[in-house]
Symmetry: C2
Subunit: 377 residues, 2 copies
Amino acid sequence: MVTGERFLVEYLITGDEHEAYNKVQDICVEQTVEFPTELILDNWIKEDVVGKIESFEPIQVNLFQAVVSYAVETTAYELTQLLNVIYGNISLKPGILVNKIDLSPKLLDSFRGPHFGRSGLRSLLGVKGRPLLFTAIKPMGLSAAELGKLAYRFARGGIDIIKDDHGLTNQPFAAFADRVKSCARAVEKANQENGSNSIYVANITGPSDEVVARARLAKQLGARGLLLAPALVGFDTMRLVAEDDTIALPIFSHPAFMGSYTASENNGISHFALYGQITRLAGADATIYPNFGGRFSFSQQICESIVQGTSVPMGNIKPIFPSPGGGLTLELIPELLKVYGQEVIFLMGGGLVKRSPDIEQNCQYFKHLIESSIEIE
Amino acid sequence: MVTGERFLVEYLITGDEHEAYNKVQDICVEQTVEFPTELILDNWIKEDVVGKIESFEPIQVNLFQAVVSYAVETTAYELTQLLNVIYGNISLKPGILVNKIDLSPKLLDSFRGPHFGRSGLRSLLGVKGRPLLFTAIKPMGLSAAELGKLAYRFARGGIDIIKDDHGLTNQPFAAFADRVKSCARAVEKANQENGSNSIYVANITGPSDEVVARARLAKQLGARGLLLAPALVGFDTMRLVAEDDTIALPIFSHPAFMGSYTASENNGISHFALYGQITRLAGADATIYPNFGGRFSFSQQICESIVQGTSVPMGNIKPIFPSPGGGLTLELIPELLKVYGQEVIFLMGGGLVKRSPDIEQNCQYFKHLIESSIEIE
């Protein structure tokens, strides 16, 4: 009834040893059969379908690391059901955090992950040997024409990737198609003038039945990348867009509405697994997250764990770019280069506008900072 | 540029007064323009698009209640973007919890909410004046035929609503169409024999591009209700199913993967708003949540707040059923009747199987408990 192939989930469990071990036993049942095991008549269900404790180790006082294995068949090879097995009902129980996932070959083969990944995105942009530069056009309220002008200035200044702010969807101020057309044209015009290859990334986060249509329309109107917030549309909607070969544009994952999964030390999903592994499995080519030292609360250590999650071996699933943002300023760049090295996309929004009224010059300075630091190395 | 209509979000903010007030000011910007306000040139954007603090009150030491209003246009009348304005980026910041939402008429009119609601579901089932009885067929691993047999026994025993366990999607043990066909037929057979009107509810939680197709197939195969986990598929996918008049089946919302939004006292969304208001806005006719005293951690007070969220006035959006589950036993029923009254759906899974090997008799006893308590009142 099962192939015997199993995948692993590492949980961090809070409690004393007895309590923590009971929680792990409970996870094995809750996440699979959700039924009193003593009443299950089929032995193979008890043996194979119920999760198995593979290891259980103390890591500090009242904190245990437990690895549970599950039969791959429990997931039906669906991302939604995989997430359900990993952390469905137990998200409602205190003291259980998903620390890491370790998927088996057959399961990994059933997902394509990112279409581009790090090297694909570099090829698309034609940029080697330096971090990629990323910005957002805003504020909400500007017209499609005004947003286009802003996109033009960023592209003229040499920013590689120019995205919609994640709150721009289809507001009356700048309806989706108008905005995308205006911004895509503006970036293309700057590219022709500069001889450069910047891309405009359209935000397609929106109604469930419109996401794919917006992706296609965006492509048709000249967008060369897509922004999606998986916690708003569902991770599987991102997978759907990523696996659609008629779309075939790089996807930038936005963390809006995702914060609660990492808000507690003893509930949720680790930054490594959520922003790294799961976002990658869902097909993002880059994962945006709030950088340390900005206006959010992630620590440097957390950010480094996300970087690890973007590149930890996952079978055929390509490594993706970490993309720290949320309050980056030009002053921080030298330090950030030390932390992140070259394989990163720096997302700077307000910081590029604050330096001086001349946005193009601010962008050129940003690029200069990045390029000169590389030469010094 | 805006109509002037605004909607309200009540946040609970942790911190001392100065810190908390700064956080609320930050919310107004972060959730809308996400841009340094001093650099915004258009006055109307600063005045109308940026959120406004409507009130700010201490409620206990280091805890403040703040009401922020937003222009309805910021939401683009999309559920995804509405959730983004309410709690997108700030989900990533510590010390901010969404306590309550108060949507304006135009915004409420742009959502249909549940197709049935409490009274519609009662009409469909033909049950008045008592709580509805609800159970789940499991464990995962049983074949479609075995699950059908179980559904038959529950229906023969008089359970009103018989659903798939939320982990049954499209596993090789019992593929979706086989399972739905088997269970729908079994319940229909029992109805004919009993002269009753039980409904089988198919779990359609699954890949983004298959949810609607599964809903239609389930209906075609005889399912008379649908189970969906909005945290897995996205709340807007639930809305899409609920608003599709070619489907028109009651929707039961499952809380899998949703726990982290309510895991912390100073981050996330209140149970009232999440399991009540938002689930309702997304079109569920009943909201399943873990009952107090069971194997999860919600308190009685929390459960009562969910009940309030299912029926608080929300314009044209119908009241829906609270559906406590997760470890309900027959012994608890008398107490639960006192807490919940009649407008509730009791979800009992394992508890109906544990009492004796005769499932039909256990179900009859469950129904008897409910009916006799009503007569006594």
